[in-house]
């Protein structure tokens, strides 16, 4: 989709260019919690090529967040292999730092990478206009609405310059209207930024509207029960008949995985 529109804003082409694709093969992950063993993922295989949006849907507790943490190297898999370029995480809760202004939060990755404050702010400010946050640069997160906070968190993820973005329920906490606005906005942004995206959501429609492929996971332990390619022209809306048809298919796969 977006490969012909090369990244305008992005740094570190060296890291991003070579192979932005993701390969997950037969990955399992079990961890101990409160004395018992929790099987989060069992034999999961997925792939996404450079610039693709892969959505992962499934019931809560199916190991979606674990999958993202594996991709971001926050934990290792017990079995299987993962090939993934450096990935940045946008966690379910925005985790903005309350003492930094919105623009300083967005520029956090740059500051960590050693960029001085002023140029880091300039780069974040440039993106603020594009995400509809112009004028809110110096407001602290506590005074921003939920949708604005999510956008700040997204800009922070984007500015990390990593070729892979792992988005964990990015719009989960938003009301329906803000949510669809944010989806359109994400769509436009991704059309400009050639990034590989793994989008975790429990909203099947959101997955179909945004993704090139939708992987359906079963309840814990998470297994891939279906993979649906989304060949629908963008921009898509929830009411497109093709979206609705695919949604029924995905919901069917979810249901089948649940009763298995």
């Amino acid at each position: 989709m977006a490969t012909e529109l090369q990244s305008r804003t992005q740094p570190s082409p060296s890291r991003a260019a070579s192979c932005g694709g993701i390969l997950i093969e037969n990955v399992s992950r079990t961890y101990a919690r409160a004395g018992s063993r929790v099987e989060a993922l069992d034999g999961v295989s997925l792939r996404a090529s450079h610039g693709e949006v892969l959505a992962v849907v499934g019931p809560s507790g199916c190991g979606k967040t674990t999958l993202l943490e594996l991709l971001c190297r926050l934990q290792p898999p017990d079995r299987g292999t993962i090939r993934c370029p450096p990935a940045a995480l946008m966690p379910q809760r925005d985790l903005l730092l309350p003492w930094l202004s919105a623009v300083d939060n967005a520029a956090l990755a740059l500051r960590i990478a050693g960029v001085a404050r002023a140029p880091a702010r300039d780069r974040a400010t440039a993106l603020f206009a594009e995400v509809g946050l112009a004028g809110f640069e110096h407001v602290r997160p506590g005074e921003l609405s939920g949708g604005m906070r999510q956008r700040v968190a997204f800009v922070r993820t984007l500015l990390s310059g990593k070729p892979v973005l792992c988005l964990d329920e990015p719009f989960g906490a938003l009301d329906a209207i803000t949510r669809s606005e944010m989806q359109e906005w994400l769509e436009r942004t991704l059309a400009r930024e050639a990034r590989t995206v793994v989008l975790v959501t429990h909203d099947v429609e959101e997955a179909i509207v945004l993704a090139d492929r939708v992987a359906v996971l079963s309840p814990r332990p998470g297994r891939v029960t279906a993979q649906l390619d989304v060949h629908i022209d963008r921009p898509r809306t929830r009411t497109d008949s093709a979206v609705i048809a695919l949604r029924e298919e995905a919901l069917g796969a979810l249901e089948a995985g649940r009763s298995r």
Binding site: E69, C72, R73, L74, A87, A88, L89, P91, R93, L95, L97, P98, W99, L108, A109, R111, I112, A113, R140, G142, R156, S160
Partner: protein, 259 residues
């Protein structure tokens, strides 16, 4: 401005009521002035000894401010060390608690032997008395950082130091300042203890020693000095509250702030 007066009104009214009750009690019960001077006697002593009290107060104020600074710096560094190293935590915490039970006169002579009659041993005494609340609140503040925050910073390639600098340090700042306000509440009495346990070579010994000297034969002057310390503690407390709002404006207003 008027709202500020409104906010101060309850405290001023209560103080006036208490002063009136004190005056009446001394007057009606016929209490002798060397046992409990009446407020008007204390006020007169304050007026007549203003110069002497002011010079002694300058000494004490310097001790309190610098001693508290030392306690804040030392307490903060210790808290960070305890936070970073579980080993240090297990080793140091019990000793830090125990140190609060040490009666200062026991070590007063040693402090003078090490550092002489000057300002420094007094600062050490004040810091010893004040550092503990700073350690406790700062350690708690450092631990209260959202556990997912370090994860996020790791995905942004932050080093341990950067995680500290960007997440933990600012998170602990309001807690450390709250600790400083608790420390301050004991800091003024700490200065009194410091002055009375380590001798001084200065021209003015400080309010604490002045009060001890006066308490038997110049009772009203001892009370006048006490009034100065009383007011000083209040001013310092609210100055710190103000500093907290300036330095950590994102933090919620803790109780006791001048709103």
């Amino acid at each position: 401005m008027s709202s500020r007066i409104e906010r101060a009104a309850p405290a001023v009214l209560l103080a006036l009521v208490l002063l009136g009750a004190w005056e009446l009690y001394v007057d009606l019960a016929g209490v002798q002035a060397d046992l409990l001077p009446a407020p008007h006697g204390v006020a007169r002593a304050l007026w007549e000894n203003a110069g002497l009290l002011a010079r002694n107060f300058a000494v004490t104020a310097e001790e309190v401010v610098l001693g508290l600074g030392l306690a804040l710096a030392g307490g903060f560094v210790l808290a960070v060390a305890i936070h970073m190293s579980p080993l240090l935590r297990r080793a140091v915490y019990p000793l830090a608690v125990g140190s609060q039970a040490v009666p200062i006169p026991v070590i007063g002579v040693l402090l003078v032997f090490w550092w002489g009659f000057g300002l420094f041993p007094k600062l050490v005494v004040i810091a010893l008395i004040c550092f503990f609340p700073v350690v406790v609140t700062t350690v708690d503040g450092l631990r209260a950082v959202d556990p997912d925050q370090p994860k996020l910073l790791r995905t942004l390639d932050a080093t341990r130091w950067q995680a500290f600098r960007f997440a933990e340090l600012p998170a602990a700042l309001p807690a450390a300042l709250s600790g400083a306000r608790i420390a301050l509440a004991v800091g003024v009495i700490g200065a009194f203890i410091a002055e009375t346990t380590t001798p001084t070579s200065g021209a003015y010994p400080g309010l604490g020693r002045e009060i001890i000297t006066d308490v038997n034969f110049q009772t009203s002057r001892a009370y006048a000095g006490t009034v100065v310390l009383f007011a000083f503690a209040i001013v310092c407390f609210y100055a710190l509250a103000l500093a907290q709002r300036r330095l950590a404006p994102w933090s919620a207003q803790p109780q006791g702030d001048p709103h």
